[in-house]
């Protein structure tokens, strides 16, 4: 069943939903990357919640003018208008008053959403309002999606991706270094506005599939996931799009494969799973690799200090140090060095002594700054410099 869903074999409607969702997921991931890098991820939450009163107003206007209130393009146009007013309210509150951006986001989000709820209850009392199903915009609903709706969502997604491609350079510049961007002639406010406009576009297009409460997840989670894998902005953008698309494809497929599985929440949860796996396993920035790096560093410090202690005949009490030395065959259980341990210990002590001299020598100041108790001095100084230092220390003694 799931395989059928994922390979588009599950009938017309499921295929329609999946294709639209994948395009939406890709567009959201790509757009969200810039929002995330600009550290304004949660502005999208305000935009998303601000769509609700617009949906209500559009429904009322359409109904009063004698049209079908459920006309999707009309509702989306209405939602875009109040989303824009919400966006401007956030900008205005955070730039013109002393309120910080997070307070502005929370205030705009809750006030618009409250107004939207009031309008929904007004609509429920209208004669045509009972079957309006506007609550579906809260959590999304893909049941009974029309071909025209799917085409609208897919086209919207494509348009957003095309615009991101067009503005990718100024937007990456602004995301990384707003100060540099503005001195090199990029109009900060315009690029910010373009970015937010694209976010608004994705939000509006995504209302039908994932709903206004969860659409921010598509904008935030894939870019955060992609960020674990690479430091290059173009790659983050493409990976975020890919993660968004994959999450939408799997989520929509799972949702179609059994009853009572809502599409929006499933897409978000698949997306979160991709995030969790990436955070755990990604090279360099992932938890596992951080842990390995930490362990390696810890072992290095313990080995070095243990060898120095052995060389100076001091007793070792630290259990981890003894365990590490024993495991490498450098010390016996009673803490006495083995033959090889004594050699390595003498070498470590000599290295330490060389560093000590190097740090006391003004000409070697720069190189000596790299002393961290782990780096071998051979990695930093030339053979000639070391010979010079050794000349001052005196020749090595034979290990008994």
């Amino acid at each position: 069943m799931l395989r059928d869903a994922l390979t588009f074999q599950l009938g017309y409607n499921a295929t329609l939903v999946t294709v639209a969702a994948v395009l939406l997921g890709f567009a959201a991931g790509v757009t969200g990357t810039f929002l995330f890098l600009r550290k304004r991820a949660l502005v999208s939450d305000a935009i998303a919640h601000a769509t609700l009163p617009g949906i209500g107003i559009a429904f009322i206007a359409l109904t009063l003018s004698g049209h079908d209130g459920r006309h999707l393009p009309g509702l989306l146009a209405g939602s875009a208008v109040t989303a824009m007013s919400g966006l401007f309210a956030v900008q205005w509150l955070s730039s013109r008053t002393r309120l910080s951006e997070d307070a502005a986001i929370g205030a705009v989000l809750s006030a618009h959403f409250s107004l939207g709820i009031v309008l929904l209850t007004v609509i429920q009392t209208m004669s045509t309002g009972r079957q309006a199903g506007l609550e579906n915009f809260l959590l999304g609903s893909t049941a009974g999606m029309l071909l025209s709706d799917a085409i609208l969502i897919a086209l919207g997604g494509l348009l957003v991706v095309a615009l991101v491609f067009l503005f990718r350079r100024p937007m990456s510049l602004v995301s990384f270094d707003p100060g540099f961007a503005s001195t090199s002639g990029v109009r900060l406010d315009r690029i910010d506005l373009t970015m937010m406009g694209l976010v608004l576009g994705v939000t509006v297009v995504g209302l039908k599939v994932v709903g206004l409460i969860l659409v921010v997840a598509l904008l935030i989670i894939p870019p955060v996931t992609a960020r674990f894998w690479t430091n290059r902005v173009e790659l983050v953008v493409i990976l975020a799009g890919a993660f968004g698309g994959i999450a939408a494809w799997l989520g929509a497929g799972l949702s179609a494969s059994a009853p009572d599985l809502p599409t929006g929440p499933l897409i978000v949860l698949v997306s979160f799973c991709l995030f969790a796996v990436s955070m755990a396993l990604a090279p360099r920035r992932g938890l596992l690799s951080s842990l390995v790096r930490h362990r390696r560093f810890q072992a290095g410090v313990h080995m070095r200090q243990g060898l120095l202690a052995l060389a100076q005949g001091q007793p070792i009490y630290e259990p981890l140090t003894i365990r590490l030395l024993k495991a490498r065959g450098l010390a016996r259980a009673d803490g006495m060095p083995t033959r090889e341990g004594a050699v390595r210990a003498a070498r470590a002590l000599r290295d330490e002594k060389r560093w000590e001299v190097a740090r006391a020598t003004p000409e070697l100041e720069l190189a000596a700054a790299r002393y961290d108790g782990l780096t071998q001095i051979e990695d930093v100084l030339t053979a000639d410099q070391i010979a010079e230092i050794d000349h001052r220390i005196g020749p090595p003694e034979a290990v008994q």
Binding site: L42, R96, T97, A103, S114, F275
Partner: protein, 301 residues
């Protein structure tokens, strides 16, 4: 509306709405000042999975398991956000966005999957609450306020939200100085030997308590609106913390009473039969108050 109807149908929802607004606004002052306003947003989203979890475990809609479940969910969310922020090196806004959307999605999915047909538990109820239904059927007029039999029939939500409001107000009064110092100058607070991290955590826990108790009665919309709008508006009125808290209390009470009245009677003045959502109206009024403060507040810049 005569006194009898007022006591039966309006007094308790009005009180519950006001107390919910009050407790959230009190905690919200410190969230706004510490730039943690969106913690309130995150908490109000993750209450849903907590409640669904409590329902799945106990199989009933009973209060204490639900309060416990949502408190657990709030703590899990805070820990996850902190872990992602610290170990994943992700900025706090994005970390929050990842956690609360995923937890909310899990809550919705669990709700759809479980059989909740026999009980009153759905997403819309969680979002909007149902303030209008918290009526006091045993009341027969103002005299019922001193009648023990009638008082026993008060909605239990009233006791819970009163308790939480009193607890939060007491904490505020007792810990006023450390709260104020650590909010404005964390470094100075640390040199004084104040437990800065514990105070920060305490504020988040108090907010979670307020959110859960208010959520139980009035839905998450009021929670977010009251955490942020009255304190933010109060911030634009004054430079003094004491005055700010006082303004936020006033704004919260005005929003609750005006919003409730407008929702109940407003449509009738316009010639319509049906009332609109009280929770939504209270949030809207709070937004309007903030807009006025942003335009005319004496300390807006």
């Amino acid at each position: 509306m005569n006194g009898e109807d007022f006591v039966t149908f309006s007094l308790t929802p009005l009180l519950i709405g006001s107390l919910a607004a009050l407790s959230c606004a009190l905690a919200g002052n410190f969230l706004v000042l510490r730039r943690q306003a969106l913690v309130g947003d995150a908490i109000s989203h993750v209450v849903l999975p907590g409640i669904v979890l409590a329902f799945l475990v106990t199989g009933t809609i009973s209060t204490w398991p639900m309060l416990f479940g949502s408190a657990v969910a709030a703590v899990v969310a805070v820990v996850l956000i902190e872990a992602i922020r610290r170990f994943g090196r992700i900025e706090p806004g994005a970390a929050m966005g990842v956690v609360f959307t995923a937890m909310f999605a899990a809550g919705v999915l669990a709700l759809e999957q479980s059989d909740t047909s026999g009980v009153h538990l759905d997403v819309e109820h969680a979002l909007f609450g149902n303030l209008e239904s918290l009526i006091w059927l045993d009341a027969t007029g103002w005299a019922s306020l001193v009648d023990p039999v009638a008082l026993a029939g008060l909605p239990p939500e009233l006791f819970r939200i009163s308790l939480i409001t009193v607890v939060i107000a007491l904490c505020l009064a007792v810990f006023w100085r450390p709260l104020a110092i650590s909010t404005f100058d964390e470094g100075f607070a640390r040199t004084l030997g104040l437990p800065v991290r514990a105070i920060g955590l305490g504020i988040v826990i108090a907010s979670a308590l307020a959110a859960v108790a208010a959520f139980d009665a009035v839905g998450s919309i009021i929670v977010i609106a009251m955490f942020i709008c009255p304190p933010a508006a109060a911030r634009l009125m004054t430079n003094r913390l004491g005055a700010q808290v006082a303004w936020s209390v006033a704004f919260a009470l005005i929003a609750a009473t005006l919003g409730f009245t407008l929702a109940g009677s407003g449509p009738a003045w316009l010639g319509s039969e049906n009332a609109v959502s009280a929770a939504g109206m209270i949030g809207t009024v709070a937004g309007v108050i903030l807009a006025c403060a942003a335009l005319f507040g004496p300390a807006r810049n």
